[in-house]
């Protein structure tokens, strides 16, 4: 067999670098630079000494130092807040995935008295948020004795009507044949749910999980309301309240901010396409 001769590209006989493409790419490049610049500026600031940071702006630190990074990692509460953030976000994501997928499945595939009323109640919940419910939600959590506790931070974030709705829509779109076959073979609903439905739903579940994790990691308002104990604070919370109150040291403030943002950015760089699909999926499901 002879080596096949490279066939000419059928659809685009011309080079892809047309003048239009070059111009468009340059525009995109410029816009991307504007979008990344603030982050690079934060990084640059964090590598300067406090005195250099307030000198007239320049990008490359003349007096390159990791002191601010050491400072926030050793002296401050930041490692502690980081762990708190991780505990809260992981718990929230896990609980949300569990209860929302169960409820979505219950709504999509079972029939029981009062189902439509419960669904209407869930839909109504889409209009409420901690920003609106803040004060009565706080007094409720207070009467449950959960102020200044992990549970108080976690559980109120675990009843997202939107995620139930998204998964309900998804389960409805699954073909029923597989489940029916399993039903005929004598499998109960729970077994069908865990062994057939869940494995089929990985893309949707990961979308919901990613979105929940981002929202929870970045949640500022609720942890801010429910705790003012510096040992229990989450990352966004501590950065905004405690760190600022020590007087402004810009390099430290920027280093702390980068540490708070780093996990999600690192995950994003590696799982870009999944996250993009996940966010677009959960967003579009609102239609």
């Amino acid at each position: 067999m002879t080596v096949p001769t490279p066939t000419p590209v059928m659809h685009k006989p011309r080079s892809t670098w047309t003048p239009g493409q070059i111009a468009l790419t340059l525009v995109a490049l410029a816009l991307s630079a504007v979008w990344v610049a603030p982050l690079l500026w934060a990084l640059s600031t964090s590598l300067k000494t406090p005195t250099e940071s307030v000198a007239p702006p320049h990008w490359i630190p003349e007096d390159f130092t990791l002191e601010s990074w050491k400072g926030v990692l050793e002296a401050g509460n930041i490692p502690n807040w980081f762990v708190n953030s991780l505990v809260v976000s992981v718990c929230v994501t896990f609980i949300v995935l569990l209860v929302a997928s169960l409820a979505g499945y219950g709504f999509a595939r079972t029939e029981f008295r009062g189902k439509s009323a419960l669904m209407a109640l869930t839909m109504a919940g889409l209009m409420f948020s901690p920003a609106i419910l803040g004060v009565p939600l706080f007094t409720t959590v207070q009467s449950l004795g959960m102020v200044d506790t992990y549970w108080g931070m976690i559980l109120p974030q675990c009843a997202p009507a939107a995620m139930v709705y998204i998964l309900y829509k998804f389960f409805q779109s699954l073909p029923r044949e597989l489940e029916e076959a399993a039903f005929i073979d004598g499998a109960g609903r729970w077994r069908i749910f865990f062994t057939i439905v869940i494995p089929l739903s990985k893309p949707s579940l990961s979308a919901v999980g990613i979105f929940t994790f981002i929202a929870s990691w970045n949640n500022f308002l609720w942890p801010f309301m429910v705790t003012n104990n510096p040992d229990l604070m989450t990352m966004p919370n501590g950065i905004a309240t405690v760190q600022n109150s020590f007087g402004i040291v810009w390099p430290q403030l920027m280093a702390g901010g980068i540490i708070a943002g780093l996990p999600l950015i690192a995950v994003f760089v590696f799982f870009q396409s999944q996250i993009v699909r996940g966010v677009a999926h959960t967003g579009l499901a609102g239609q």
């Binding site: 816009l31 990344v36 409420f128 004060v135 966004p236 994003f268 967003g283 579009l284």
Partner: protein, 317 residues
């Protein structure tokens, strides 16, 4: 339930094995937990505790003069609501939230659409645009606020340095809210950008090919294919952004150190409700003004549903 019984019946006729006493007992026992209610129960426990109870409680509190510890609670009817309508700070802070919404929503829609069109039509480096435009969305609001607080510093801030100005962005009334708007645009546009990008990618390619064969130029293709196909997503982006922007809180408070901003120009509505609840300890009053915000949010949400339904009825799309 009827469909499942018929499938069960077919199953028994198809299979040689007949149901025994034990089988039916197991089925009957199993059926108790097969009830769909068990699936939705865990969610409704949490939903009841942290959504329904607070809503009902808030509604009740809004008719009382409750303080933070719940003592001395007296029923005072509509007094809180009457007071709220006469409270200048209610209107003032509501105006700030509305003002923020008016600025930020059109900016986000236009910027997100332009960015998505650029990213969609470039052949190379698509991943790079996506990475750059979406990355800020992953950062916590507090980090965004600290970062822009730094960028907007009057003497050694990067914004003034780049623009060659010495605007005191954060200390004068005329630019204080604008600073929050710019920070928010930079932060959140990536989300709407992704939605637009997904919508652009979903437009069938053959539409463009057919139009090109029919002699439509790039502008006509944009006007007659892209724009109509993006109408739904624009509605969605608008709705999501309006609802989120009316509830703005984080960026504004952190950028102004939990204060009301220069000449009280950035106190948002959510901030005012929390000030009433947690600083003045007037839980009853705070609940009442929260419900005013809820009514506005609900009006927007229901208004959108009404519009969608009307359009579905009006056209065949």
């Amino acid at each position: 339930m009827s469909s499942t019984t018929t499938t069960l019946a077919t199953a028994t006729t198809l299979r040689p094995r007949t149901a025994t006493e034990a089988d039916s007992a197991r089925l009957r026992w199993g059926r108790r937990f097969q009830h769909g209610g068990w699936f939705v129960a865990p969610f409704f426990v949490l939903y009841g505790l942290f959504v329904i109870v607070p809503v009902v409680r808030g509604l009740y509190l809004s008719f009382t003069d409750a303080n933070i510890s719940g003592e001395h609670t007296g029923f005072i009817g509509l007094d809180n609501y009457r007071e709220a309508l006469k409270d200048d700070l209610v209107w003032n802070s509501l105006w700030h939230s509305v003002q923020f919404t008016f600025y930020v929503v059109p900016m986000i829609v236009v910027a997100a659409l332009l960015m998505a069109l650029i990213a969609h039509h470039t052949v190379h480096f698509k991943w790079l645009w996506r990475l750059c435009f979406f990355m800020p969305f992953l950062l916590p609001s507090a980090v965004i606020a600290n970062l822009w607080w730094w960028l907007f510093q009057p003497t050694n801030g990067m914004v003034n340095h780049v623009l060659g100005t010495d605007t005191p962005w954060l200390t004068q009334k005329s630019t204080a809210m604008l600073a929050v708007v710019i920070a928010t645009l930079w932060w959140t546009v990536g989300f709407s950008f992704l939605l637009y990008l997904a919508a652009l990618q979903a437009i069938p390619h053959h539409l463009y090919e057919a139009a090109e064969l029919d002699g439509a130029n790039a502008f006509q293709r944009m006007l007659h294919i892209t724009v109509p196909n993006l109408r739904n997503i624009t509605g969605l982006v608008l709705a999501l952004q309006i609802l989120a922007s009316l509830q703005v809180f984080d960026q504004a408070v952190v950028m102004y150190q939990f204060g009301p901003g220069p000449e009280e120009s950035t106190r948002t509505f959510v901030q005012y409700t929390l000030e009433q609840g947690f600083t003045s300890y007037r839980v009853g009053y705070a609940s009442a003004i929260s419900f005013i915000l809820f009514l506005i949010i609900a009006a927007v949400a229901l208004g959108r549903m009404w519009l969608l339904r009307k359009r579905e009825e009006g056209t065949l799309r």
